[in-house]
């Protein structure tokens, strides 16, 4: 059994939940082919999504969060990006091995995904209802009238005013927040087991952000659905997550229940992120940035990928790659964890 499996298992026990995961990502490697060679943009990533939980995947842009999500949905832009090894086990099947035709049956029906920019993510020349009807009728035997009823009902459920009219609207007739509600409604209309939300509020106004997050959380609880929420915003994490996985340079560097992560982060990168976050209750006034930059993927250090920016790096950190360690239900990749 790999270190990662133990980590998530232990985390589950710590969380008081022993349910089998709905989805398990195991040692996932996703690489991009470039003229200079093939580089892992997602490296040895393992995590579980358990029933009824919100797992947040956090990290700065370009760290591989979206690629991880697209790997699960099998929506990678192949070529040049493709899964090179690892498993994504969902309901007993490895999604990485499924033929395209079978993957389509999973998409939206069992695992749905919503995207960052609701303006460009909706087909501009079809109405909300036309696309929704097509999604429903691709997966279910439903008449157009039945599909319309389902669509209007879910639009109402996600809090869209005048859902009957909106069903026949084009995306350009809607505001950003309304578009994101439409995308959520389309993703939820078939009652999937998992919703993957890739920065669903980044392109929205702050007030609308809060409404959308609240709606997502409510739908997740009402439907007994699991959610993988991708964000770079730790405030979003604090408000919605059950568990958090922190990604850096294509790897998960720390994974913990949300309270544990905020109160007792192990990995120096996580600690750095929290020190860079303004916090009303904390005495520390000064925000501390993390020095340096993420190395470009062609120049990843052979040891710990964070070593060049780490204040506590040891000799070993520059040469050996830290394995996934587990301590009291928290998984992390670090040779020299420091108290926070």
């Amino acid at each position: 059994m790999s270190a990662a499996t133990t980590a998530t298992g232990a985390a589950a026990a710590a969380n008081g939940s022993t349910d089998a995961p709905v989805l398990s990502v195991r040692n996932l490697h996703t690489a991009v082919a470039t003229p200079e060679g093939s580089f892992d943009v997602v490296r040895d990533v393992s995590f579980d999504i358990r029933p009824n939980e919100v797992l947040c995947l956090v990290g700065e842009s370009g760290c591989g969060k979206t690629i991880t999500a697209l790997s699960i949905m099998r929506l990678l832009p192949t070529p040049p990006v493709r899964i090179t090894s690892g498993e994504i086990v969902f309901d007993g099947t490895d999604l990485t091995q499924l033929p395209e035709r079978r993957v389509r049956d999973v998409r939206s029906e069992r695992i749905s995904m919503i995207f960052q920019d609701p303006l460009t993510s909706l087909d501009p020349v079809f109405t909300v209802g036309q696309v929704m009807t097509e999604v429903i009728r691709t997966h279910r035997d439903a008449t157009k009238a039945e599909a319309r009823d389902m669509g209007v009902e879910i639009l109402r459920a996600v809090g869209l005013p005048a859902p009957e009219e909106r069903f026949d609207s084009y995306p350009h007739e809607l505001s950003g927040g309304m578009r994101q509600r439409v995308m959520i409604a389309t993703a939820l209309v078939l009652d999937p087991e998992i919703l993957i939300a890739d920065e669903p509020t980044t392109a929205l106004d702050v007030t609308v952000q809060a409404q959308i997050l609240e709606r997502l959380r409510a739908e997740q609880q009402d439907r007994n659905m699991s959610m993988l929420l991708i964000t770079h915003d730790l405030a979003v994490v604090a408000s919605i997550a059950d568990r958090v996985a922190v990604m850096y340079a294509g790897e998960i560097v720390e994974e913990a229940p949300v309270d544990e992560l905020f109160s007792n982060p192990r990995h120096p990168y996580t600690q750095g992120l929290l020190r860079a976050l303004p916090h009303a209750s904390r005495k520390r006034r000064e925000l501390v940035p993390i020095p340096g930059l993420v190395p470009p993927m062609q120049m990843m250090p052979p040891g710990c990928r964070f070593a060049p920016r780490c204040p506590h790096a040891l000799e070993q950190c520059w040469t050996d790659h830290p394995p996934h360690e587990v301590e009291a239900g928290v998984g992390f990749r670090c040779f020299n964890p420091q108290p926070f």
């Binding site: 929506l75 029906e109 087909d123 501009p124 020349v125």
Partner: protein, 305 residues
């Protein structure tokens, strides 16, 4: 709707201005209408008398208003060369041109759009390469030369098709293909790039995440988005076909409007030349107007504004 109304007003203004331009151009272009009708031996007095009869000695703007007045009462006049009724010429030759033009227009899209989709979907394959080579050739080869080439190959050498004449289906094939060629070449390129542009859009990923089949995503959603620029430029294809019809109809001896116009200009047959110029201009201007309407209908973002 406001947009369409504005375009309609604009179209009327263009029509009016171009009718003036045509009228002046024909009168200022040298040559003499009188020699079209009178024998070379006619005396100076006879010529003057005939000019007076046609009103050619009046100021051009007076002639213009008189002519436009008659046009509005559908009095189109007669040809100076053979006294044929211009309205009869319009119906007879117009029908032939319509057949040829419609055939070419249909070919532009029936061949251009599918080839463009193929090239986009099989991007960088040999199929894409051959389609794009064909497209470059189609744009580069002048249509009069292509006409001669096809006549040489399919009529003289292989003997599959007649080299000229009207109006059987077999006689239609060569002129229609030649007339359509540049439009096909342009439509292929435009379809390919519009398809590729839309295939890269975020909404395609959303539709894939919805579990839709690639057939529906490409054949319905991406194609419909890609058709917006293609439809909006369809009017320009009509204009192109009308322009090239002059050459193609003359080479293939297809008795259409283009051929009539070319002959009338060569013979200084004023009434025929100016009427058929106006007809062709009206077709081009109206097809541009139609393109605007088409663009508005194809693009929901413009429909209600």
């Amino acid at each position: 709707m406001k947009r369409i109304a504005a375009r309609s007003v604009y179209t009327l203004i263009v029509l009016l201005l171009s009718s003036i331009a045509v009228f002046y151009a024909i009168r200022l272009s040298g040559g003499d209408a009188v020699s079209a009708r009178l024998p070379a031996s006619a005396s100076y007095e006879e010529r003057e008398e005939f000019r007076e009869l046609l009103g050619l000695n009046d100021p051009v703007h007076e002639q213009y208003f008189r002519y436009m007045g008659r046009l509005l009462t559908f009095d189109l006049g007669k040809s100076l060369t053979n006294n044929a009724d211009i309205f009869d010429m319009l119906t007879h030759h117009g029908k032939n041109s319509l057949i040829l033009g419609a055939a070419a227009f249909a070919l532009v899209f029936a061949i251009g759009v599918p080839l463009g989709i193929l090239a986009a979907v099989r991007r960088n394959s040999w199929a894409d390469g051959s389609v794009m080579t064909f497209s470059v050739a189609g744009m580069a080869v002048p249509n009069f030369w292509l006409a001669l080439l096809t006549v040489w190959l399919f009529a003289s050498t292989l003997g599959w098709l007649p080299s000229a004449g009207c109006c059987s289906f077999k006689q239609l094939i060569l002129p229609a293909v030649v007339l359509a060629m540049e439009g096909i070449a342009l439509t292929v390129r435009m379809t390919r790039s519009a398809m590729l542009e839309n295939l890269g859009q975020d909404f395609v990923r959303t539709l894939r995440a919805g579990g839709l089949s690639e057939t529906s995503i490409i054949g319905k959603h991406v194609l419909r988005n890609a058709m917006v620029p293609i439809i909006s430029l369809a009017g320009l294809r009509i204009g192109q076909i009308v322009g090239y019809a002059l050459v193609v109809e003359t080479i293939f001896g297809w008795p259409g409007l283009g051929q009539v116009l070319v002959n009338a200009v060569l013979r200084r047959d004023y009434p025929v030349a100016q009427f058929f110029s106006l007809v062709l201009i009206t077709i081009v201007v109206l097809s541009n107007w139609l393109a605007d309407v088409g663009y508005t209908v194809a693009n929901p973002r413009l429909r209600k504004s």
